[in-house]
């Protein structure tokens, strides 16, 4: 029976070593409070959309560049739900140490609150915006059978027109409903789940018009299967230089999707500076520039403060437009 206590000693020693190792790890993790040592381990970039969509792709392009500069992995974590509100609320509740970031869509702040109940809405003041990323433009396309070649054809048609949107509370819906009101055209709003089914419905002549993101519409525009009538950006889009803007055609409805990287409120300035530097380094890289070009994204690499001001302006503008034309985005007219 002499070996029995000795085995116990071994187990005891082993657990002591394990404990030591655990406390050592704890010390490293605890060091994150000292922002000069940032980053202390992988930086999670949460996305409120499913993998494979444009928001997810942008997150992956950004994380690839920034992880090199930061010298630490930046895994993309998809947490889809409620247009991204679920992911936003989760990241906003994390410790403000820069280890958890969020890729946020402007529409969540500027448009979604117009369509959903207050407790589902997200407040931009719960976050620190680190950097703006890019602008994703919406284009109004017409089906072949509709015969529309320009917005004038639509306004002159003098009948009820069906238009597909990418869903309730999206820029696509806001842009078209406001446009129709301003142009005094009667239309039926047909919501689809995303851009792709809306485009398919235009291709199959189930709806006459639809507003979708440029990257999705471009292959069919180039193939001549759908006609681009106008873009909703303030300036003409470089990828579609011959298509007029809504503004040029006399309509005041500037809608686009913007994206930015955010951190929980109260993240130390040194941490934010370090992250910003890493993102700016990414913006300069050829790989990222090519990514933007391939996906028809216009760079809008502005500071976090500018993002907050602009998004708040858009939110106020859209709210004003909706009230002015007494539009309800939730279809209950």
């Amino acid at each position: 029976m002499t070996h029995f206590p000795s085995r116990r000693t071994i187990i005891g020693t082993a657990s002591a070593v394990a404990l030591l190792a655990l406390t050592a790890c704890g010390n490293v993790a605890g060091g994150s409070a000292d922002s000069s040592k940032y980053p202390s381990g992988p930086v999670n970039l949460t996305v409120g959309q499913a993998p494979g969509g444009s928001t997810d792709l942008i997150a992956r392009a950004i994380s690839e560049g920034a992880s090199k500069t930061l010298g630490t992995p930046m895994p993309v974590v998809n947490k889809p739900g409620a247009n991204g509100a679920l992911a936003t609320k989760e990241v906003a509740g994390k410790p403000a140490d820069g280890q958890n970031l969020l890729l946020i869509n402007a529409s969540l702040i500027t448009i979604t609150p117009l369509a959903v109940s207050a407790d589902e809405a997200v407040n931009i003041d719960d976050l620190d915006i680190i950097a703006g990323l890019s602008q994703d433009d919406y284009v109004l396309v017409a089906s072949e059978k509709s015969g529309f070649k320009s917005i004038k054809d639509v306004t002159a048609a003098g009948r009820n027109i069906t238009f597909g949107t990418t869903g309730v509370g999206t820029g696509s819906q806001l842009a078209q409903t406001v446009l129709f009101k301003q142009a005094n055209v009667k239309g039926t709003d047909v919501p689809f789940d995303s851009g792709k089914p809306a485009l398919t419905a235009v291709l199959g002549n189930q709806v006459e018009l639809a507003t979708i993101q440029l990257g999705e519409a471009m292959p069919q525009i180039k193939a001549g299967k759908v006609a681009p009538l106008l873009v909703f950006s303030e300036d003409r889009n470089t990828f579609l230089p011959d298509t007029p803007t809504a503004k040029e055609s006399g309509y005041d409805v500037p809608v686009a999707q913007y994206r930015a990287v955010a951190a929980p409120k109260g993240t130390p300035k040194e941490v934010k500076d370090k992250l910003l530097a890493a993102f700016q380094e990414t913006f300069k890289s050829d790989a990222y520039k090519q990514f933007n070009e391939k996906n028809m994204l216009t760079p809008k690499e502005i500071s976090g403060e500018e993002v907050v001001t602009q998004w708040k302006e858009y939110a106020a503008k859209y709210k004003g437009l909706i009230e002015k034309y007494s539009i309800s985005l939730s279809g209950t007219k």
Binding site: K79, T162, L203
Partner: protein, 510 residues
């Protein structure tokens, strides 16, 4: 032949080493679970769904498809050797297969089943190859109206052609439809049945429901079953059937292929129904029906051919229309959605590599199965000795871990547990889980398509009849709705021959 180019490219996709490997893994897993009476292909696919998350979509579906048709091969082995059907679709094989084994012709029975399965499977793939582009040419004509009609027809068929009690199937389907209404209303942004939970704002995800009901529910239910100890299997020799046997069975294989192909396409149909229908048909056609149940080769070859043909052809409605025809296909649908691919008429044109890669992988998979199934019989039978006490906790753990990884969400894990209990209780009280899950999938499609079409038609329901495809589908819907009445009238005139399958313990698995 422009049409053949993507088909040939599809072979290039399959022959990539990674895809070949996953095809092999898929069919081996399929055969294994085919042998195990506890787990069916739907449960296995539900459990393994999250594991496919990190591979290419085409690779993932190749593997999952392999599990499905591989199980049809595996289920035969235990039916013949041990009188223990590994799969519901191999239940009828027991009648003549086990008798053949008792007469020392186990090898012949297995050989016939393997050859029949191969021919049936291959015939269905060829059918799929030519039918899919035809359906795809109508792709753009499929609008909201057509999808509403299709979903309506699908739900009706699923609820009426299931193998258990019709009332219970209808109840399960109704619950599935109710569950589909949870979440934000796509047309008004209003929250329905979310109780203020942001997690429910987009509705209940399909994958946790399937993993819970099929995966966990099945595991829990199987714990109740006391498995019979595996007897020593009969010796297997002469796996190549004699010319006489082949001649006797060739007609059954031919008829089984055609019957299985059509029953597989039908929503609510599938491998189990195909195998039973084939057995009934062979018996009816035979000159000496009394040979059946005493080791008739046709009684093995026919059903085994038909179940494989049906397993393959049930991919047709999924890959060409985006409508899952049975529970396993509903899981394939989920797998595609996880990968960001929405199956539908556009799939062939937009994702030719995926489509033809998956279709062509089935040729390869069937050849692999034919090669493997016979020499490896002994090994597969040993699997039966794995005790449920080990198998159940391991599979339950994999299910829960997997559920977490999809959306990094503990809420999903809770859902799996809740639906696991629901699935267990349903099985316990004789409710088929298939109609619930299918109605759930088709329910959201039905609701959004119906409302979308009414918007397009300006609220006029007669609009559905102004479009040729939706009008045709709705007429079929009416026909199917009145068909049971006509059938029961016919059945009263002739005695039903299917009833004799009842004595065998029919534990339906999905």
């Amino acid at each position: 032949m422009d049409f053949l180019n993507p088909v040939i490219n599809g072979f290039a996709v399959v022959l990539e080493p990674m895809n070949l490997l996953y095809c092999l893994i898929g069919v081996v897993i399929g055969m294994l679970i085919g042998v195990l009476p506890g787990l069916g292909p739907a449960a296995t696919i539900a459990i393994l769904l999250p594991l496919t998350y990190n591979v290419e979509p085409v690779t993932a579906i190749i593997m999952l498809a392999g599990i499905f048709y591989g199980a049809q091969y595996g289920g035969t082995i235990t039916s013949v050797l041990l009188k223990l059907p590994g799969e519901a679709s191999s239940v009828v094989t027991v009648f003549d297969g086990y008798q053949m084994a008792k007469q020392g012709k186990a090898g012949t029975a297995l050989g016939l089943a393997a050859i029949g399965s191969f021919i049936g499977g291959t015939a269905s793939i060829i059918g799929l190859t030519f039918l899919a582009p035809l359906v795809a040419s109508f792709a753009l004509d499929f609008g909201p109206a057509e999808y509403s009609a299709l979903a309506l027809l699908g739900i009706l068929l699923v609820a009426t052609i299931s193998s258990g009690s019709k009332t219970k199937a209808l109840i399960a389907a109704a619950i599935g439809l109710l569950l589909a209404t949870v979440g934000r209303d796509v047309f008004t942004g209003e929250s329905r049945f979310t109780f203020g939970s942001l997690e429910l704002a987009d509705g209940i995800d399909f994958v946790p429901i399937a993993m819970g009901i099929f995966g966990l529910g099945e595991i829990l239910y199987n714990l109740e079953e006391r498995h019979r100890a595996a007897k020593a299997p009969s010796t297997v020799s002469n796996v190549w059937p004699s010319r006489g046997d082949l001649k006797q069975a060739s007609g059954a294989i031919g008829r089984g292929s055609v019957l299985g192909f059509f029953l597989g396409i039908l929503p609510g149909g599938g491998a189990t129904i195909a195998s039973m229908a084939s057995y009934a048909m062979e018996k009816k056609r035979a000159k000496q029906p009394e040979r059946f149940g005493k080791g008739a080769p046709e009684g093995v070859a026919g059903p085994e051919t038909a179940n494989n043909a049906a397993a393959t052809s049930s991919f047709i409605p999924l890959l060409t229309l985006g409508i899952p025809a049975n529970a396993t296909m509903a899981l394939m649908f989920g797998a595609l959605l996880i990968q960001g691919v929405t199956p539908g008429p556009q799939l062939v044109d937009e994702n030719p590599d995926l489509f033809w890669g998956v279709v062509n992988s089935m040729y390869i998979g069937n050849i692999l199965l034919l090669i493997m199934s016979l020499p490896l019989v002994g090994i597969f039978v040993k699997i039966l000795r794995v005790r449920a006490a080990i198998l159940a906790p391991v599979t339950a753990l994999i299910t829960l871990l997997g559920a977490y990884t999809i959306n990094n969400s503990m809420f999903d894990v809770t859902l799996v547990v809740v639906f696991g209990i629901v699935g267990y209780v349903m099985k316990k009280f004789g409710f088929e889980p298939g109609p619930l899950v299918l109605a759930f999938v088709l329910g959201s499609l039905l609701e959004s398509s119906l409302r979308r079409s009414l918007l397009v038609f300006n609220g006029d329901p007669l609009g559905f009849f102004s479009r040729p495809i939706s009008a045709t589908l709705l007429i079929v819907f009416v026909l199917v709705a009145v068909l049971p009445g006509i059938r029961s009238m016919l059945a009263k005139r002739k005695g039903s021959s299917l009833e004799e399958t009842a004595p065998v313990q029919l534990k339906e698995k999905v």
